[in-house]
Symmetry: none
Subunit: 410 residues, 2 copies
């Protein structure tokens, strides 16, 4: 059976940039291997969700993997929690959280608790396992000041407001149901407020914080949940496509989406999520995985960082690294492997955030209707044979090329 | 009022083929009349159902005629039954069936009962009109060992398994509801099992079979239903578009779809469904029909046969015949007639089955926005003015060109 790599370059799409001669970074870069895929493959542009929709990385990955985000995405929480290895179940209410420093009036002193980088495991242990109003509390620390919270009980809702005011000097916000008549979410809000109160009570005099204060560091004396979402009922990737799949990614959020649909997660030591990431090491991991599995999803983060920072040169540098990565893949992937190369959204340097512009996409491998497109960039691929598709179409096209899709009808 | 011909070349789309110089059969063929349509018309590519979806001929024709197959298609049975002239009603459970040979242990000896080609009308009469558990049984023989079954009663379901194991040497399967809690389908399954049992009882000593055994032929001593579907509630083509329509096709399945939506069916003597089919005779029938009706759907089957057989030369031969057919049509159709030329799906010679690749489409006739596309093939039309549409869009575009579509809004 044919194998496939879906390589998603985070935030790679861009807009014309004056200092690049009104070219996009992809148009301005030298990238012989990416262009080889375009020249030999079938090209087009892709709206991750729909034309003009500014996609997040989570909603875009859901769509590209074939799960309509309007059905399955209720908030970032479940995928953040899954991304740090928590076992999110259908109906769980999950949140991303910050360890934060507050004063005794609940005013935010430091949203990131002095970017605390040790002791959070002990702090997490102090709140993990609580039961509030019959609701099971599961908390796990993540990188630095970050963590994730799961509230588990029947009949909870996720339509609630955040507790984090997002600015120092403001008070911790009370969590509320967005719709006052939504009893399930009101129940969750009540538990969240109690959890926040208890976290302060349990953490303010915790030995880790006593020691931090002694050292002149901000104490991580409260936990503020945000980004609530309810664990969606989703068919696994294996159920959906009958393919065994591995995810090689750099961020918890993407690993979370992949883990939630049952993919194997492979962590690569040199994958940093930044522009210093070792993409060839990621490529080696992909090649190794495809020896024993059918499908690999890979997300490379760096270009998105350049976009958010408004730094075209960072994008150019990342494109050079991507090109080297694709060169390695072309030389080392199994002969029958398909490559689908695209981005999860555009992050134009001029916007410093995700935009709703479509992204280039190429399907490369046996049997594709090679078109006249010779370059992998936004405007060249727009002239390709694929025309314009949506994220939700990508796996359908990939699996029909792999000849693993079922026929509908006779 | 303008008239239109929707000419669907079954399975015509393909992928690049090495022995044709990496061209598709359409790209490799000489086809001046098809190319004339492309040059004078408005071209694009079309996903019969959606990008990447491997469409059947039935689901694709439903979509192209404007009926969403995800709503209306529950199985092949209703359209097979309608295709042999049975009057399938909403809520009927319909099946395709084989006359089969079994031994007295219900082991399949010959799935096609020695490809029986006479006497099936008498055998059908023996089971037609039975009433089982209050359910009316309507059975009709078709070509050779084939037939169709309708079970008619209120409250039946079609979510059931097949009785035909599809292999000689295996036992007849018990029909079961796919979901054990689905009482409507469980009722159907019980009736199907009783029908199969009764068919054996009534056919095993039937004079037709006594005579066959005497002649050393396999007896058609049981009937095995499969492909269950429930007769969908659908608006007729006339209700939907206010057009009188005729279908000129070569297969029961396409005639079945057309008949189900109320089209007149015209059978053409020389239309064989194979590569020896007389397409000019079909064209003559189309020209004749368009004198008195508004719309003709024509399906020509041969290219699909070439694809399933992995035979590019068969496709090339069929394209030559199609070109001759279109030449006749261009010379003889009423002046105000539109032609919509497309395929119902790709059947690449390399896959030998339907793929999810889009197909070329051209809208030809008065007022179309002629584009720069000069050739009717997969990759040329991908550059056309239509861009990429779906099957469900085709009748909307055709009827707005015909100026018969209603305006939505003011």
């Amino acid at each position: 059976m044919a194998k496939a790599l879906l390589l998603i370059c985070d935030g790679l799409g861009d807009r014309p940039i004056a200092e690049l001669g009104n070219k996009t970074p992809l148009e301005a870069a030298s990238k012989p291997n990416l262009d080889r895929l375009a020249a030999e493959g079938e090209c087009g542009i892709m709206d991750p969700i729909a034309p003009g929709i500014r996609a997040g990385s989570d909603t875009s990955h859901l769509a590209i993997l074939g799960y309509d985000p309007y059905t399955y995405y209720t908030g970032r929480g479940p995928f953040e929690a899954a991304g740090i290895g928590m076992d999110v179940k259908e109906g769980d209410i999950a949140f991303r959280c910050n360890f934060t420093t507050v004063d005794d009036q609940m005013t935010i002193i430091d949203r990131r608790a002095g970017r605390i980088n040790s002791g959070t495991e002990q702090l997490a242990a102090a709140v993990n396992g609580l039961v509030i109003d019959g609701v099971e509390v599961i908390f796990k620390e993540s990188v630095a000041h970050r963590g994730a919270l799961i509230l588990r009980a029947a009949g909870l809702g996720a339509e609630i407001t955040d507790t984090d005011p997002h600015h120092e000097g403001e008070k911790v916000l009370a969590c509320e149901a967005i719709d006052a008549n939504d009893a399930a979410s009101a129940k969750t809000a009540k538990v969240v407020n109690e959890f926040v109160r208890k976290s302060y009570e349990l953490l303010k005099d915790h030995p880790v914080n006593v020691e931090r204060i002694k050292q002149g560091l901000q104490p991580a004396n409260i936990i503020l949940p945000r980004g609530a979402g309810i664990g969606p009922k989703m068919r696994s990737f294996k159920e959906e496509y009958n393919l065994n799949a591995t995810c090689v990614a750099e961020t918890g959020l993407i690993n979370g989406v992949a883990r939630y649909v049952g993919m194997k997660i492979v962590e690569v030591d040199g994958a940093t999520g930044g522009t210093d990431s070792n993409l060839v090491e990621m490529a080696e991991a992909i090649v190794k995985e495809l020896k024993s599995t059918d499908f690999v999803l890979c997300n490379v983060k760096g270009a998105d960082v350049g976009g958010h920072d408004g730094a075209p040169q960072v994008k150019l540098d990342m494109i050079a690294k991507l090109d080297e990565m694709v060169g390695y893949l072309l030389a080392n992937l199994p002969e029958d492997a398909y490559i689908v190369l695209t981005a999860d959204h555009s992050t134009p340097c001029s916007i410093k955030d995700h935009s709703g512009d479509p992204v280039p996409i190429v399907f490369w491998g046996d049997g594709v209707r090679t078109d006249s497109c010779k370059q992998f960039d936004e405007r060249s691929t727009a002239m390709g044979g694929i025309n314009r598709i949506r994220g939700i179409d990508v796996m359908k096209i990939a699996t029909q090329l792999m000849n693993t899709a079922e026929k509908f009808g006779a």
